[in-house]
Symmetry: C2
Subunit: 486 residues, 2 copies
């Protein structure tokens, strides 16, 4: 055992044990531990990390003395106990992101989480230099969530072999779906730890259809083993979100009962109750996001008509996350050739309709076939700076903002917080030179003109009340922030 005796809240404590490596430790050995602090007891599973090493990770969510005791069918791993101190969280650590007030997200400590998501499906499967570039890019951008796969991706611009696979393979190259490649998972641990350090939520895509290696069509018990392994290994990272699938509806080998079973496994074995979602391909194959295991409804949605978002809010009573709407780029696929203006416009629109903007991705063609949306690397596009600006604007406003009929019209959308002390109105593709607004009797507002594309903010030196007229710059993509004054 090489345990430190204290950790910070929402980091994880790791118990490392040595035991027999005979047989197949991945399937033969059951290992778990109960962690107790005050009147709180949490049970979590351990996992085999190769070379006779067994690991149990645990992320405490209350400060104080935690005691634990292990249990295993391998005698040398069972009945081991110990304790550690959980101290206050480090600066800028706020816990796990959870659903908050039906449609929103917040960390455990109540800090609002306003997701700004990007997509790099297979970045962990690229060579080390490219992975370093990706991390560097993430460091220098404002994304606080990333969609990424555990399994490698086979698709246009994605024909290279991955660095490592999640499974061991025999001398014939056949994968053993019951023996994990711990070198891959150690590497993945490190990358997720790095994202945690960058305060980036990791939307882990557990299954996906773009596969030439067979990971999308394993036997059911192999699927289940994989889930339990990954839960034991990754759930102690506070920055994990579970995405059951990318485009579940084009995976012919999986049936609805498979997805339901996977969910039950997540439900049962993830002690931290991380966020869980699923992602569709075709808009008509909308998953039943009312299912209990779904914490927030994710949509691939490329349509221009966003009135559906309002219906989804009513139908599901959960946060609505649009995590694919077409990427900034210029490839021939219609989902990969949005101009940056369109992606930024859509991201603002998602917010205005009451959804979350997690749909960034970049697909500019290059002969090296290194496209951010899958392989990561560097970003060349013009949308990331504008999306960072969007995040900044939202984070400065007391949350939470919801669509407001009162502050909307047939031709623009308005969102406000509950007491209407802050309102955002967005004119999208329109280019008004002025707008008349009627401020309710007895109320006064200050106004600020936001150019969401040019990233400028201009406070207007005037108090608005009653029937008033706000001058605007005859440009597209303009928003107004109204702030109530006494």
């Amino acid at each position: 055992m090489s345990n430190e005796n204290s950790i910070n809240k929402w980091d994880y404590y790791e118990i490392k044990l040595h035991g027999s490596s005979e047989g197949n430790p991945f399937t033969d050995v059951q290992l778990s531990a109960e962690f107790t602090c005050k009147n709180r007891t949490i049970k979590t599973e351990g996992f085999y990390d190769g070379d006779g090493i067994y690991i149990i990770r645990f992320m405490p969510d209350i400060e104080g003395l935690w005691q634990y005791e292990t249990e295993s069918n391998l005698p040398e791993l069972s009945g081991i106990n110990g304790n550690f101190i959980c101290k206050e969280p480090l600066n800028d650590v706020h816990g796990v992101v959870r659903v908050n007030n039906t449609y929103h997200f917040a960390y455990d400590d109540g800090t609002p989480f306003i997701p700004l998501g990007t997509t790099a499906y297979a970045w962990v499967h690229q060579d080390k230099e490219l992975i370093e570039n990706t991390i560097d890019t993430l460091t220098r951008n404002a994304f606080n969530k990333i969609r990424m796969c555990v399994f490698p991706k086979h698709y246009d611009f994605n024909h290279n072999e991955p660095l490592m696979f999640a499974y061991e393979r025999n001398s014939d190259g056949i994968f053993d779906h019951y023996r994990f490649n711990v070198y891959f998972f150690r590497y993945l641990d490190g990358l997720i730890a790095k994202l945690r350090e960058l305060s980036i939520e990791t939307d882990i895509i557990l299954f996906h259809p773009y596969d030439r290696w067979g990971f999308s069509s394993m036997a059911s018990d192999a699927d289940d083993l994989y889930l339990r392994y990954i839960i034991a290994r990754l759930s102690p990272f506070r920055n994990i979100w579970w995405s059951l699938a990318n485009e579940y509806d084009i995976m012919p080998t999986k049936k609805m009962e498979d997805w339901d079973r996977f969910c039950k496994i997540l439900f049962e074995y993830d002690p931290y109750n991380h966020l869980r979602s699923i992602h569709n391909c075709h808009p008509q194959n909308r998953y039943d996001h009312n299912k209990e295991w779904i914490t927030h409804a994710c949509f691939q949605y490329q349509e221009d008509d966003l009135t559906a978002i309002g219906k989804w809010r009513e139908q599901y009573n959960k946060p609505i996350v649009i995590d694919e709407c077409g990427y900034e780029g210029n490839i021939d696929h219609g989902w990969g050739n949005l101009p940056p203006q369109e992606l930024v416009y859509k991201s603002w629109q998602f917010i205005m309709y009451g959804a979350h903007a997690c749909a960034h991705g970049e697909t500019y063609y290059n002969d090296e076939e290194i496209l951010w949306w899958s392989k990561g690397g560097i970003l060349k596009g013009e949308s990331p700076a504008r999306l960072a600006f969007l995040r900044k604007v939202l984070e400065e406003i007391p949350y939470q903002l919801n669509p407001s009929k009162k502050w909307s019209s047939w031709d623009f959308k308005g969102i406000s917080n509950e007491d209407e002390s802050f309102i955002i109105i967005y004119f999208g593709r329109k280019q008004p030179s002025f707008r008349r607004l009627t401020i309710p009797d007895g109320q006064k507002y200050q106004a600020e003109i936001i150019d969401t594309w040019n990233m400028t903010r201009e406070p207007i030196d005037q108090i608005f009340q009653g029937r008033c007229r706000i001058s605007l710059p005859t440009r597209q993509w303009i928003a107004i922030i109204l702030r109530k004054v006494d």
Copy 2:
């Protein structure tokens, strides 16, 4: 009588008669004439033009000797006969525009008519200098159709009194809805004749709601009298289209049976069967365009989702004309602050979905409150040049183009003529740098890249066949024209 003895086909012949002006000639005198050429006889009504002058106009559609005889309840107007020669049409005169092949338009002589419409509701009610500016602007632009009202307009930016009214008024300023102001109508004749000279179809809006003078709420018999007067007077202009109303659904004084009665009057008294339509305000108040009297379905439609157009084509089996979708401008109304790029984009999209692009209008704010969309004047915007380019592109292609499933994909629309010798593919807001297409076996095409915004055309020096890749410029609003080669 002061008749010339020959006219050109599709111009009109005018019989001028003198008779009593006692009583109210507008209501008391019935006057008509039968015109006969070979085995063809057409009856048309005359109208009173003041000062004891009665006029019968007739537009012949076959060449040869036409004979006529008048009939009237005023003895001096009855039983008058005569004849004239109808000669070949003048150059560039093709007759009346009619529905052609279900979804399209063509002139009587078979020449395709590809409408490119603008809107200047009240231009005929402005001062003479402004009217001259409007005509000058129309002369220098490519619009071949204009939406315009008979009655003046009362609305934002439209508070001036019209130059003249359609009715006489008494010394108290009360309008007599049974006595037309012939000075106004003579003036209107002249303007429509001017439009005819410019080959601009005049989409005459017969009723509309934006009224402070009472013309939108006259008695039923006054409405009917007005329609018969205007039919007698204006239907002999070959460039007339009848638009029953602008925004019929926000005219509370008119019921559906009124619209039906109006239609019957048009049906019965217009001997030339000019095109007839009606125009809605709210999208949910879609008129039943299946009604027999409707020749083509007009829509105000501001939505981004254009899949409705395909449904309307199936539902109505008539040409679909989008004649309002938001105007280029910067006023505060959401229908009047589109950037030019958006109006041009929408116009192309209408074509690609199988509708006609008649929705131009311009609403740039100015302190003089002279906005083209209502008052005419000069155009300042950037869309007219691009719309002219659109018309030019379409007119160079052998008509008729219809949406093609085969040449469309989920992410772009393609239209083709029947033998697929010409295809247009449009990428709209997307910015692909290339596109793969599969040309059917044994066929070969040339390709031309159209930048619909920058108005450039670049033929590609290459023959495309089989599975091929076409390079594109990573810009929005790009179209490809494919031309079959042997």
